[in-house]
């Protein structure tokens, strides 16, 4: 192996460190106009009238558009197309798009917004999950469950959880609550649309799903897809927050159709916050049972999920809150009831660890409690309950490679678990948690015959290899991964390879960077394409040398006859021979998840993946009982990524996940007042600052997936899952309180500490902490 597995700086890193990389806002086009969006000041209201004449009369204003422009609905999921470019009859959250302006400069555009006269008739806003569950005369959207604001209800039942609980030694049932959190990527949303005089539309956008944007533009603009070109410049972070087609992209296109000039819309930071699409605020009730031998008997889970104003990925979120609990432990009895509701708040959507993070927190806290109930060490308890590799879950997920055992064992070793857990002084603690995530969604969002990933390769006589793909590089290193997957079969240097992934005109379809799918799917497509070129080159080397094709290998820029390595042809000589008489070598590789996969029941497709990743983390914390402040000292993070194609990228993803997970665990929290976000800026919405970031010891576990490219699986999302519960379990080890609400902010820690103060005899902290547990059988 020459390219794969080698720590490789990202191939676009030099462009980034010199500032020469081009993000959407860096693009200036001739005659470009500035677009601005008028947003709703009310959480829920009927639009009585919009008068845009004063704005249109302003010098320098080139176009004003409103919801009258188009009523075509769109949305990332075909089952919940509930968005329009701008509000048609009602506004549904503070920040909903009401009108768009294109003007000669920003000042004029902002002035014009003030001259659009909108009359609203306020409606009583639905701001809580409880209100949303009730029947109402005017649901926020027309397609809801039984006249309520429930958008999606999921009920799943495998085995008999009641019976399982009856036969359990202990059952723990608890309520958990999760605050809304958001991606907080550094690059604000930005789009440029140019509808030209040829009737073609080009859209540059900071998106992680150019293909879904392409489809949505086609629907909203009523244009054939082939007349639309989507270009993804560099993207300054996304984490799921740029994975929906957005109203602002439609508004820019509409404004440009009126003016035939390029229109740029750049969000300010407040707009980024209020349009959100972050992790769903959720209330979870979870019960888990255990036999006296320490085996999990069943899992009973109810989740109430606040979706905000739009559907977004919410149907998937609703399923994921349940089904992504099916690993890494064997659970034979499982019952899930999930409801996602519409509210008049900023829309929730997909965020790193989509749908899995909150339920995982509850599950890992319960696992710790049950381990204590049966008197087992939390790591031993987890080890005892693991799914093996090559098995099926009760809901028919096909588990292939599975490195959880190694993750747990290595974390136990590295963290000094046996010496430290339960033995540290009061205020100091060590906790553990596991994780489980998909490596790409096996069933694509749209039912088409198009493969999920296609990659084209071209090699001409100059010896340069061009990779065409629409897999979106968003900082995770997917361009570098594609280059490696091409370089490996061809045995060439990475600098021969140019990866072009930003242009829908030249790239074949790839579904984009979401659901942790790119390495597995686009990586496989790239590998397959390169293997075809390899065949061509070997045939050429065979022709040049007269040796049989079977013995040739490609490495170090040579095609070598392995049985006699003195016989070889350089890459360039083989290439010239292969090109002779037919021109540039081209190849196509594609990936489509092979059916049949999964069960036949309703919702069986949700959570199906060609492979899954597994994690085990330990966190070492200090809790200050005076202030309630939690300081995370160190995190040991073991992640099974199958095979680390690029260890630099894998380690970077894990470190980033630890940071983002700690933010949700400790500091991040949207605060609403009457539907308005109080902390819609990066000062009041606190991501974990550098001085609070702990040491992270990354442990990469390579289980060699049988179907992943060179054995690889995802590393971008699964590693966030164990972070918050490991911290919560460490807090329990430190001060004996069970935190069931995120973030675990100082005020909440203090109030729990008041209810569970420090035990009387601090001289034997470990023993007293154990004694304070009351493993009574819990029923509810």
């Amino acid at each position: 192996m020459s390219a794969v597995g080698k720590p490789t700086p990202l191939i676009d890193a030099r462009a980034k460190v010199t500032g020469q990389g081009v993000y959407t806002d860096d693009i200036k086009l001739p005659g470009m106009l500035t677009g601005k969006i008028l947003r709703s000041p009310l959480p829920y209201a009927r639009i009585v009238s919009i008068d845009k004449s004063r704005a249109e009369a302003m010098p320098g204003v080139r176009a004003v558009v409103t919801g009258r422009e188009t009523e075509v609905r769109f949305g990332v999921l075909p089952v919940s197309r509930d968005e329009t470019a701008m509000a048609v009859d009602r506004v549904r959250y503070i920040g909903d798009c009401v009108a768009g302006v294109a003007a000669d400069d920003e000042e004029i555009a902002l002035d014009a917004l003030k001259r659009i006269d909108v009359t609203y008739e306020p409606l009583p806003p639905i701001l809580t999950i409880d209100e949303a569950l009730k029947p109402t005369d005017l649901p926020i959207h027309d397609k809801t469950v039984g006249g309520t604001n429930v958008q999606k209800a999921v009920d799943q039942n495998f085995g008999d959880v009641e019976d399982a609980f009856d036969q359990s030694a202990f059952v723990e049932r608890h309520q958990f609550q999760f605050a809304p959190v958001t991606h907080a990527f550094t690059e604000p949303h930005c789009v440029i649309a140019h509808f030209d005089h040829d009737g073609r539309l080009t859209v540059w956008s900071a998106t992680q799903v150019p293909h879904y944007l392409h489809r949505a533009l086609s629907e909203v603009m009523q244009m054939d897809m082939h007349r639309i070109r989507v270009i993804r410049p560099m993207v300054g972070g996304a984490f799921g927050g740029k994975s929906d087609p957005f109203p602002h992209e439609m508004i820019a296109a509409l404004l440009s159709r009126h003016t035939k000039r390029p229109v740029k819309i750049l969000f300010d930071r407040e707009e980024v916050f209020i349009t959100n699409h972050g992790r769903h605020p959720t209330r979870t009730s979870m019960a888990m049972g255990v036999s006296k031998e320490g085996l999990i008997t069943g899992l009973d889970l109810k989740a109430l999920i606040d979706g905000g104003a739009w559907g977004s990925f919410g149907v998937v979120t609703t399923y994921y809150n349940g089904v992504l609990c099916m690993g890494p432990y064997r659970i034979n009895n499982f019952r899930y009831s999930g409801k996602r509701v519409y509210t008049n708040k900023s829309p929730s959507g997909a965020m790193r660890g989509h749908g899995a993070v909150n339920s995982r927190f509850a599950m890992e806290v319960l696992a710790d409690m049950l381990a204590a109930d049966v008197g087992m060490d939390p790591i031993d308890f987890r080890l005892k309950n693991l799914l093996p590799p090559m098995t099926k879950t009760v809901n028919e997920f096909r588990i292939t490679s599975n490195g959880t055992r190694e993750c747990l064992e290595r974390v136990r070793e590295a963290s000094g678990w046996k010496e430290q857990h339960g033995r540290l002084p009061y205020g100091e603690g060590l906790g553990v948690a596991c994780g489980f995530y998909i490596s790409g969604s096996a069933l694509p969002i749209h039912w088409t015959k198009t493969p999920q990933s296609t990659v084209h390769l071209k090699i001409d006589s100059d010896g340069g290899i061009t990779v065409h793909s629409l897999a979106a590089e968003i900082g995770q290193g997917s361009d570098t991964m594609l280059a490696q997957c091409v370089a490996e079969p061809l045995g060439v240097r990475l600098d021969r390879i140019r990866v072009l992934t930003s242009d829908s005109d030249t790239a074949p379809i790839d579904l984009g960077s979401y659901s942790s799918r790119v390495t597995f799917m686009a990586g496989n497509a790239a590998r397959l394409a390169a293997e075809q070129i390899r065949t061509d080159l070997i045939a050429a080397a065979s022709a040049l040398t007269g040796y049989q094709t079977e013995g040739f290998v490609l490495q170090n820029e040579k095609v070598i006859y392995a049985p006699d390595p003195t016989v070889s042809v350089t890459f360039m000589d083989a290439l010239q021979e292969a090109i002779k008489g037919k021109g540039a070598l081209i190849a196509r590789g594609c990936y489509a998840s092979a059916p049949p996969m999964g069960g036949k029941f309703k919702g069986a497709a949700a959570g199906l993946s060609p492979s899954y990743t597994f994690q085990a983390y330990a966190a070492r914390v200090s809790v200050d009982p005076e202030t309630g402040f939690v300081r995370v000292r160190k995190v040991w993070a073991a992640h099974d990524c199958g095979r680390a194609l690029n260890p630099i990228a894998v380690v970077g993803q894990i470190q980033g996940c630890v940071h983002m997970g700690l933010g949700q665990a400790l500091t991040e929290d949207f605060r609403y007042h009457r539907g308005s976000i109080l902390n819609a800026n990066l000062l009041d919405y606190r991501t974990l600052p550098p001085d609070q970031m702990p040491d992270v010891e990354v442990i990469v576990v390579e289980s060699q997936d049988p179907e992943g490219p060179f054995g690889a699986k995802e590393a971008g999302e699964g590693p966030i899952l164990p972070v918050a519960p490991a911290v919560a379990n460490a807090i329990y080890d430190a001060v004996g309180i069970r935190m069931k609400e995120l973030p675990m902010s100082p005020d909440r820690i203090l109030s729990e500490l008041q209810r569970h103060p420090r035990p009387q005899q601090p001289s034997a902290p470990a023993a007293t902490k154990k004694g304070s547990r009351t493993p009574a059988k819990v029923r509810s």
Partner: protein, 183 residues
């Protein structure tokens, strides 16, 4: 006169009233002198990005909370989104575009590449400018000094781990070269 025309005329008057005085400022950016005409409320970030086309300085929040727009002005890091262009009159400004030379990357840039300290890259120029300033003043900073120096820069990709490693590595490279650049 129709209503619409009356409104338009009215708006012309407003626009005239809004025509604010401009001032010429002279500043050196990455060693080159520039004469720029600015309005009283223009900020340095706009001048760099929109007037001088130095787009390596990134716009992340416009309110001094992310640090993506950090540049060096007269030998100290400033948030260019909160620095009035008028304040830069007569100043020497350094941006990320001024670091790499014909011979290659600045050691801080090189270390960011090697350590994977730049993922999405959007915050990277701000961090690099902060780090360059730190290392010019303090050639051998400890972990705490590095964390304090970058406290005003936000990164959402790396968790700061590789950024801190890269800054330490760059410091070592710069020390061995013994060529701390002071422009």
């Amino acid at each position: 006169m129709s209503d619409a025309q009356a409104k338009a005329t009215d708006l012309y008057a407003i626009r005239r009233a809004r025509a604010v005085p401009r001032a010429s400022i002279e500043m050196t950016v990455n060693g080159a002198r520039h004469l720029v005409s600015v309005r009283p409320y223009d900020v340095l970030l706009d001048v760099l990005r929109e007037r001088l086309n130095l787009t390596g300085t990134r716009r992340g929040c416009d309110m001094g909370t992310c640090g993506c727009c950090t540049v060096l002005m007269d030998g100290r890091p400033v948030l260019s989104c909160l620095t009035l262009a008028l304040e830069a009159d007569g100043a020497a400004v350094r941006t990320v575009e001024g670091l790499a030379t014909g011979e290659g990357l600045h050691p801080v840039q090189d270390a960011f590449v090697r350590h994977g300290a730049s993922q999405c890259g959007f915050c990277t120029p701000g961090f690099i400018m902060t780090a360059v300033d730190l290392l010019e003043k303090s050639p051998d900073p400890g972990d705490d000094a590095i964390r304090a120096a970058i406290a005003g820069n936000m990164c959402r990709c790396t968790g700061y781990v590789t950024i801190i490693e890269a800054i330490k590595d760059a410091a070592a490279v710069l020390r061995t070269r013994g060529s701390m650049v002071r422009r």
